[in-house]
Symmetry: C2
Subunit: 392 residues, 2 copies
Amino acid sequence: MSSIGIVSPQTMAFAEPLPLQSGASLRDYMLMYETYGTLNADKSNAVLICHALNASHHVAGWYADDPKNVGWWDNMVGPNKPVDTNKFFVIGINNLGSCFGSTGPMHTNPATGKPYGAMFPVVTVEDWVAAQARLADRLGISQFAAVMGGSLGGMQALAWSIMYPDRLRHCVVIASTPKLSAQNIAFNDVARQAILSDPDYHGGDFYEHGVVPKNGLKVARMVGHITYLSDDDMAEKFGRKLRSMAEKGGAETAGYKFGFGIDFEIESYLRYQGDKFATYFDANTYLLITKALDYFDPARLHDGDLTRTLAKTTAKFFLASFTTDWRFSPERSREIVQALLANRREVTYAEIDAPHGHDAFLLEDPRYLSMVRAYFEQIRGQIANQPKGGTA
Amino acid sequence: MSSIGIVSPQTMAFAEPLPLQSGASLRDYMLMYETYGTLNADKSNAVLICHALNASHHVAGWYADDPKNVGWWDNMVGPNKPVDTNKFFVIGINNLGSCFGSTGPMHTNPATGKPYGAMFPVVTVEDWVAAQARLADRLGISQFAAVMGGSLGGMQALAWSIMYPDRLRHCVVIASTPKLSAQNIAFNDVARQAILSDPDYHGGDFYEHGVVPKNGLKVARMVGHITYLSDDDMAEKFGRKLRSMAEKGGAETAGYKFGFGIDFEIESYLRYQGDKFATYFDANTYLLITKALDYFDPARLHDGDLTRTLAKTTAKFFLASFTTDWRFSPERSREIVQALLANRREVTYAEIDAPHGHDAFLLEDPRYLSMVRAYFEQIRGQIANQPKGGTA
């Protein structure tokens, strides 16, 4: 299986204001996206991929001038891959508020002429989906063959099925949840506190000060990262291995350092991940995305009744979860499955026995990838049988 | 059951230097402790209680001038309580490096005349136990009826059984572990990073600057607190309840605030806990204690073989764990139990089905408290049968 290869991002500007759930609106904005494969004549083979916390529109392939920058789901999307770009026209889209191209906090606020900073409006999963729908309008795609995402991306797919039931035939929700738990929110708030209390955050206006709240971002990423990995996986990869074993070439000479620096490999790994993240991710974007996660709770408008919430859906569903995912455990996916079955929706559900925690949705796992492949082959079969220009 | 009532802390000064595992030593130091009950004639009824992360020597009762300051294990220790002070002479002891009385980072370093700050030597569980043994020497207690602790306190009890096997007849280890996992260490390192990167930490010398790294301590406490509570317990107590429900008097008018402030009750609770902690806990102490936790691994000197490590123990053991404790899960206690059984030690083990996570060891739970009570009644029975001045 080869990658889609060299790809190029595109932008689309929107002049019409976007009303947001908060009551605010974005006066004008730009969305960045990538497409892979070819849209068929009746525009029935389009698949929308929604991204999670630290990802973007760059789902597959690489850039001519940056060949190491491979898309975050390149193992999932490409020629002959589970989401086969020889058959499907796949769109990766970057969400509003991101720091990877679509209009976000580092862009100029037309009202002030300065960067939005913390003035960028709080956006929700539903706001993102509304913006994505406008892009679909402009591309002439009235109905997606599938909308798909993992984690926060899965929330977007689920929101599509509720907000625009006629605009997707299949909804693919991986390692996701119908809403965050108190513990999920608590971890997000630790991350937010770390950023907000970093003096280099400057109330969100750090761009003007020429600094970045690196320490806050680092701590935020470290705590987030712990929740993406399983306890077992961490034990297997790092255990109590000391950094000095690598430094000194053996366990015999390795010892504790009796200071507050790095003793264990797990510390070295997490601090490195935190430092790296702080060089490329925007603090305001991190705040915005954690709030979008916290706020997602479509059943909230139906007294918490997920079955009633999903009654308006018409798509067919594929869900997958991973046994060692303690961020969004299989139980959370099963809640969605049960609510869909109560509505007599067609649901395929895979609970994958995988060791890698929440991150498993991004990783190579033959059972997982072959389940997705089989599902998209079914979707493909349905497209082939459709009359030109028709919808299911 | 009544509390022990008014108690008074005592101090004991040690002029002889204490050699530490790091190779450093403490030139002189002071330990703060409290005692409850009466030491019997043959000094065979003494029980040592070791404290966990944010506790102290103040195990039971209250102070005449501060009646609200009730000891952290007042439900466990007192007249007719599970550890019955009508029968036992109980010692609560504060560890070196603490901020509650025993010599710690805020005390004067005799070598410089300034507060130790980050120059306070890194101390280990074994160092604490060595210091505790000296206090026992001075009190004339050659053998404890029991050494007891929960969490980090349980590690100290376990270390006693390995370092001074003849000096305790019973070892009581609650909600503890033979060593931290990679995930445990990772959470500790997040807390350390939050403190170390707070500009008000000033490399540990914040005392001289008249400030406290409150933001770092707050984030450290928030992340710690999440690991003390069970996911289920948090869901039950807080779920997705909004702060505005309380503020506005009902769910009807409650809504998201669409900002980075407090939306959810769980955020309010954790931030409050974090702020409160930052007013009374010392940042250097927090760093020291997390390192003592990380470093504890008695099997490290025996190629990781816990059975061989525990071969030298002679005490009888009582262990308890709590089903929803995901910080030190029952599995971690079972590792100790299995290693003890492999050595044919006498072990009582209780796995308590309790909803409150790691914190359960501090809480009211009739099954748990009655198990401990029954065990201490056995210990008491053995003391009664002893000849005066003899040991088991």
